[in-house]
């Protein structure tokens, strides 16, 4: 096993903060590199090792469940917040406030509550179905503040917007929270007054649904492209949901006359919202409407009227083959789809006052891929997912890893589930029971969510 120190600054800064708070936590976090497989060894695992050969003779008695919770605290270390069952102290796995724009590194690993409107606007789409069920069951939407999201937000806040947009991509194993981090970023930027162009799930755009064939037609604007009007329409609705208020405020006017057909046209100087509503009304033109809108938004951004966030979940899907076939029964590449082509153009360097964030998603790669039975087996590294074409186009970009929970985060997660009465088995409420769940789930957020359902 080869060990190397993770070199990026912010993580070290985070750790410094962390270690200053707790004397017993080890001074450095190490990353284990095992044959290209990245697993982070959480800092909290560097606890002091008891001297001599230690037998762990846990007193696992089901009757004493409630007492054990507090007894075992010494085992773990003083800094790890333990949910206190009987006392009325505020739970330590929640943030002090719920404002998404004001989180610092100290809030890493803590949950914040998302208001129902924000949940609908920014978080809901693109998450795993299990998360949506969880929100329904828990009757509240919460998101954990995590370090990768904060790292991206740090770059976004301090970026110089006079220059062509930066490209920041989350990458990581399946279920580690890439989409969630992206949603967090989108919510943050939405609150900061940025225009958000957000694709919550790229799978939707390239995967053929089992129920019914998607209506498609050759594009009228560009030869050789194909319109998927339903996708475009859905996305326009989502865009309207996220940005309607902002667009009303900005009052962006079109700079060019768009002639859709002999009868329909959008004159110069009409509001961009009109363009949007036209796309929504006339399904046939919704795809072209997106292109027109992006053109206007880019122009407005260049004029520094608005900052733009482009957030695409599953950027590697831009070059994927879709599961859809054209009239000649040939598989269509995503590049041939006009809507996707419009998003593709947002990554060009010909505009400024914007920033591009995305995730590199193994589950998008798993579509149509016969090499891997399970999408958990698909490699998650950026170059593999982007392939040569994508890497050549996107390079240089900033890859940001989203790893599994560290000990603190996993502990908070389980404590949160216990508080929400999701974990019920009496033995799982003990400290050793919690560790067992963590071990089984390998501290993977998605697996923690699914496995905790059994306990």
């Amino acid at each position: 096993m080869k060990r190397s120190i993770i070199s990026y600054r912010s993580y070290c800064q985070l750790l410094r903060l962390w270690s200053s708070k707790s004397a017993r936590v080890g001074s450095s976090s190490v990353c284990c590199v095992k044959d290209n497989i990245v697993t982070s060894l959480p800092a909290c695992f560097q606890l002091t090792v008891p001297p001599g050969r230690s037998y762990c003779t846990s007193t696992e008695n089901v009757d004493e469940e409630e007492d054990v919770i507090e007894d075992d605290i010494d085992d773990v270390g003083p800094t790890i917040p333990v949910f206190q069952h009987r006392t009325n102290l505020p739970a330590k796995f929640r943030t002090q406030h719920d404002d998404p724009t004001k989180f610092s590194l100290e809030d890493v690993g803590l949950y914040y509550k998302v208001s129902p409107e924000d949940y609908k606007k920014y978080i809901q789409s693109g998450q795993w179905p299990g998360y949506k069920k969880q929100v329904k069951t828990f009757t509240e939407a919460t998101v954990m503040v995590r370090q990768p999201a904060l790292e991206v937000l740090d770059i976004i806040e301090n970026a110089n917007y006079d220059y062509p947009p930066l490209r920041l991509f989350f990458y990581g194993k399946v279920g580690t929270g890439k989409s969630m981090s992206l949603s967090h970023v989108v919510q943050h930027c939405g609150h900061q007054g940025m225009l958000t162009i957000h694709i919550p799930d790229f799978n939707e755009l390239i995967r053929h649904r089992t129920s019914g064939v998607r209506p498609h037609a050759p594009s009228e604007y560009t030869d050789g492209l194909i319109d998927y009007t339903d996708d475009a329409l859905n996305w326009l609705q989502y865009f309207k949901l996220q940005n309607e208020e902002l667009l009303k405020k900005l009052n962006i006017k079109t700079t060019k006359e768009y002639v859709w057909s002999a009868r329909d046209s959008t004159p110069v100087g009409s509001d961009i919202l009109d363009l949007l509503s036209f796309g929504l009304e006339r399904k046939k033109y919704s795809s072209d409407c997106i292109g027109a809108m992006f053109r206007e938004i880019k122009k407005a951004a260049n004029e520094k009227r608005v900052k733009v966030l482009v957030a695409i979940d599953g950027v590697n899907g831009l070059w994927k083959n879709t599961t859809i076939k054209d009239s000649e029964k040939k598989i269509i590449n995503a590049q041939k789809v006009s809507t996707i082509q419009h998003f593709h153009k947002l990554f060009e360097h010909n505009w400024s006052n914007g920033i591009c964030v995305g995730t590199l998603c193994p589950s998008v790669e798993a579509i149509n891929n016969t090499m891997y039975e399970n999408k958990m087996d698909v490699p998650y590294t950026p170059q593999y997912l982007l392939k040569k074409e994508g890497f050549d186009y996107m390079d240089p970009f900033v890859p940001i890893i989203v790893s599994e929970y560290n000990f603190k985060e996993a502990h908070n997660c389980i404590d949160y589930y216990i508080e929400r009465k999701w974990i019920q088995s009496p033995r799982s409420l003990t400290e050793s029971g919690k560790k067992e769940i963590m071990m089984l789930a390998n501290m993977n957020p998605l697996q923690l969510m699914t496995i905790s359902g059994r306990f």
Partner: protein, 376 residues
């Protein structure tokens, strides 16, 4: 040699094979016949003294009518052929075994003077017959075993004595394998076959093999690349083998020619090689890659913007002073770092270290501002 062997074989089969006690009888009777005594442990003397001439050779005697026993019982011939005692019964204990068994051969029960047995009976109580393990005579199991009766310590001593006169002293300069490789980088392997069939030729003898390391040849990066392409192998260890020609000498000459041709061919630069792209290369080369054009483009884009800012300290890319072209871009320090990280990413594969190096280099290349950057 063949005739006596055969006669002995016939005599063997005339033994009654059924019962051990019978065989023991035969043994005793045979010893009586040749007046040898295994029990007396003396050298065997064949025949009586009358049968020999003055020099001690056996005299040939015609069989007389009277030799055939008068009272014939059963078949006419059975009485005439008398079993000859196996050879081992006549062996002295202090004989030279290396002469008896000089080379490798299959087990012969009549020659090996050991009372071997092989095969076991599952249940001694139940076993048919005497309940004893099968003897060496006619025991095919013993024949199946590849024996080492020709390689006893005495044999080895004899062999060593015989070949010692052909040996010379090992040069002290070639003590280690490293030295050997250094002084003799090319290894030529041929094989000689020696056996006693009517033909003295073996088709395998003409095969010639060259073994050497490609790194021992003097080549630049281009030549090495071409060498690898010609050989279709990236291994340092190269093995060339030829067995097409009928003679070893011809094969050897051919391999010498082949090696020379390969070497000089890889040094040649053909005009079409200038058109090679990234895909044609065996190794990743950043200079040919799309990544380089990307970087040149983006630096120029940033520079356009930078030129509008008068204060040089506030410029995004302070390390760029002039417009960059694909030729000059590598001279910039962050670009060098970036190039290295991308090459590493492609050559050693993706892992946490290479990805993080890439990330760091991109942050430096684009001079991305963060909170920690600003504060420091």
């Amino acid at each position: 040699m063949a005739a006596p062997m055969n006669s002995r074989c016939i005599s063997c089969y005339n033994y009654s094979l059924s019962h051990v006690i019978n065989s023991a009888k035969v043994l005793r009777s045979s010893s009586r016949l040749v007046s040898d005594a295994a029990s007396s442990r003396k050298d065997a003397v064949i025949g009586s003294t009358d049968d020999k001439d003055s020099k001690g050779f056996r005299r040939y005697q015609m069989k007389k009518f009277g030799d055939i026993p008068m009272e014939r019982k059963g078949s006419r011939f059975t009485a005439m052929v008398k079993p000859i005692a196996p050879r081992y019964t006549k062996m002295p204990v202090n004989q030279d075994w290396t002469n008896v068994w000089p080379t490798a051969q299959t087990f012969k029960w009549s020659v090996v003077p050991l009372p071997l047995k092989q095969g076991y009976l599952k249940n001694k109580m139940e076993a048919a017959g005497d309940g004893l393990p099968p003897q060496k005579r006619g025991n095919t199991e013993l024949i199946k075993i590849p024996n080492f009766l020709h390689l006893t310590p005495k044999h080895i001593e004899k062999h060593c004595k015989a070949i010692k006169k052909f040996c010379t002293e090992w040069p002290s300069e070639l003590d280690t394998v490293k030295d050997m490789d250094y002084h003799f980088p090319l290894e030529v392997i041929t094989e000689d076959y020696c056996f006693s069939s009517p033909s003295v030729r073996d088709p395998r003898a003409r095969t010639v093999t060259f073994k050497f390391k490609a790194s021992d040849l003097e080549m630049d990066s281009h030549a090495r690349d071409k060498w690898q392409k010609l050989l279709k192998s990236r291994d340092d260890k190269v093995t060339l083998k030829a067995d097409r020609c009928p003679l070893r000498k011809q094969n050897y000459d051919y391999l010498q020619y082949l090696l020379t041709a390969l070497y000089f061919e890889s040094w040649k630069v053909e005009p079409w090689e200038a058109e090679m792209t990234q895909e044609d290369m065996l190794d990743y080369s950043w200079d040919l890659s799309h990544s380089k054009t990307n970087v040149v483009n983006i630096i120029n884009k940033y520079r356009e913007k930078d030129q509008t800012i008068e204060d040089p300290t506030k410029r995004r890319l302070p390390y760029v002073s002039d417009d960059v072209s694909p030729d000059t871009v590598t001279s910039l320090e962050p670009v060098k770092e970036y190039k290295q990280s991308v090459e590493e990413l492609n050559m050693t594969g993706e892992n946490i270290t290479t990805i993080n190096n890439y990330k760091e280099s991109v942050l430096k290349l684009l001079n991305v501002q963060t909170k920690s950057n600003n504060s420091s």
